[in-house]
Symmetry: C2
Subunit: 339 residues, 2 copies
């Protein structure tokens, strides 16, 4: 019998999630049925979409119910297996959620090769965030050589991959991030052509200087003021893949007026823009094998770099998640739960 | 020497265009140079895009300068020709603008066959409005058999073609129009599956009842409250071609808050919607021949019906144009200037 410590949703958060919106519980896991394996969580992935799962509002996936364990992707070690495909000690990508141990169906797991890249990359650059960047940028953004691609939250796992893949495809990459350290990282470490600090007083002027030929592709994962400034610089026939709006996730009411919805639609009209929302699952069936193949090569040859922001210890999950929503992480947000 | 009476832009309108924003002038036309023809205007087309040309704001086409003749498509008779392709008496599609006579380059004219369909159709169902419907609906909207297509200003030349072409492609067509006569016309004359009155107090409920399976394609040419109600009923992966926003054209300030821009973007995200602005000229090079061929066949076999709202007399151009912006026309707005 294995015990798990888990974090369940106690109340639906209003605004920023509070400690009291959750409850830590220690319970015994059920014995695995045939086809199931028992796992110990090594890394838990923290991602902005999780804020949506805490709300009852209709979204692209069902909300987590009150009293249920918070969901999330995990890298885990097999403790006990009922199937031939997985043996004790194997490291796997699963969806164990916010807990120290889990029982999962083997058919939903993917065994990870930990010889060539660290297992944690399966939650970041070679996982859902990397694939979100790859599929949204290439399928919707369709950047052409010499075009300008702008991405916000550019030091995060999605944004950093967007900019680097744009470069690989011959486009000009401009990153937007919060604070001088992240901005410096984008140009000096990741090879972005330019980077802009959205917290700077002269953000609009910086953005203008960084995009002298306008913007052809804006990969939207933030919303808010960044979007307001970017949209003014979009070129004719510009494309805007929308995979997230983290600036809005903790809002408890609509911002004050005037209502600029009509103004946005007018810009879409006069510039013949495309705005396209997407969730990476739409493209996973068709494109995931090609992504894993290509992106692994890019990671290996150094053209796709990544950075992880690892919080140690299961007790710190909630602080780390609040930090993610506020942009305090620097790299892919992970919680290390066991060695 | 031929004289023309023309309407020039005297001032940029603030809100609804006033008589004093324009000036009628009678002037002598220049003698035609080689390659030019002298034309008498028979029909002037009035279209919502013209309101944009009266403003100095940057748009997809340059504004009409103060003192210049207002632009517009025309069906005209050749009075004098310097080229072999056109003879006196030929009826042509041109871009003579708001005037009774014009001198135009022959290479921009298209000779009209008036035996099979009335010449005025070149300004409506077989002209720019019809092609706007055809290219935007089929290229961006891409309606599949059984899907629901909704279009506003559905009794107008673009909207009526959108609905009927949707039907031809096997989709369900739902029209939105202002007032019971137009609503009745859509279902009883044009064969729309349902029609809804946006002026009715229970518009939202009517729309819901008319779209029990949600909305897959919304062809946007109106904006405002209609858009607000439609977007709530969009299905996953819905497509929104945007060719006009007539509800906004006379606005002199942004509407009061709250600001719902973020809410719109959130809907785009959670429903994986595509919003795509376009001007028909983007597709004209590739698709115009196919359109003229297909649409002429549909008009001939009765599957693509049209209606014209003809104002008699050049003196009434301004009233007719204000009526168009307010939705008082019922069918393609034309001004008949000569027999």
């Amino acid at each position: 019998m294995t015990n798990t410590t888990r974090i369940v949703l106690a109340e639906r958060p209003h605004g920023e999630p509070k400690d009291s919106d959750f409850r830590f519980e220690e319970v015994a896991l059920p014995e695995p049925s045939s086809g199931e394996v028992v796992l110990q969580t090594l890394y838990l992935s923290l991602d902005p979409y999780m804020r949506g799962r805490m709300s009852a509002a209709k979204s692209y996936a069902a909300p987590v119910e009150i009293g249920d364990t918070m969901v999330g992707a995990t890298v885990s070690r097999v403790l006990q297996s009922t199937v031939d495909d997985f043996a004790e000690g194997d490291i796997v990508l699963g969806y164990g959620g916010w807990q120290t141990h889990s029982v999962e169906k083997a058919k939903y797991l993917r065994k990870l090769d930990t010889d060539t890249v660290p297992a944690s990359t399966a939650l970041g650059v070679l996982g859902m965030p990397g694939f979100t960047a790859y599929s949204g940028l290439l399928t919707i953004g369709n950047p052409q050589p010499g075009e300008t691609v702008v991405v916000a939250a550019a030091a995060g796992p999605v944004g950093s991959a967007v900019g680097q893949i744009a470069k690989i495809k011959g486009a000009r990459a401009v990153g937007i991030a919060g604070g001088p350290d992240k901005v410096k990282y984008l140009t000096e470490e990741l090879g972005f052509d330019a980077a802009v600090d959205h917290r700077a007083d002269d953000f609009a002027e910086q953005l203008k200087a960084a995009t002298p030929d306008g913007i052809d592709v804006y990969f939207e994962n933030v919303g808010g003021n960044v979007f307001d400034q970017v949209i003014r610089r979009m070129n004719l026939y510009g494309r805007i893949p929308v995979c997230g709006l983290v600036a809005n996730y903790n809002l408890t009411s609509l911002p004050d007026g005037p209502d600029r919805t009509g103004q946005l639609m007018n810009t879409v009209l006069i510039k013949s823009l495309t705005i396209r929302g997407f969730i990476q699952t739409e493209f996973a069936g068709e494109q995931m094998p090609a992504f894993l193949d290509e992106a692994s090569g890019w990671v290996a040859d150094g053209s796709l770099k990544y950075r992880e922001d690892v919080t140690e210890g299961f007790d710190n999950v909630l602080d780390a998640f609040r930090g993610l929503l506020a942009g305090r992480n620097f790299g892919k947000a992970l919680v290390k739960i066991a060695d």
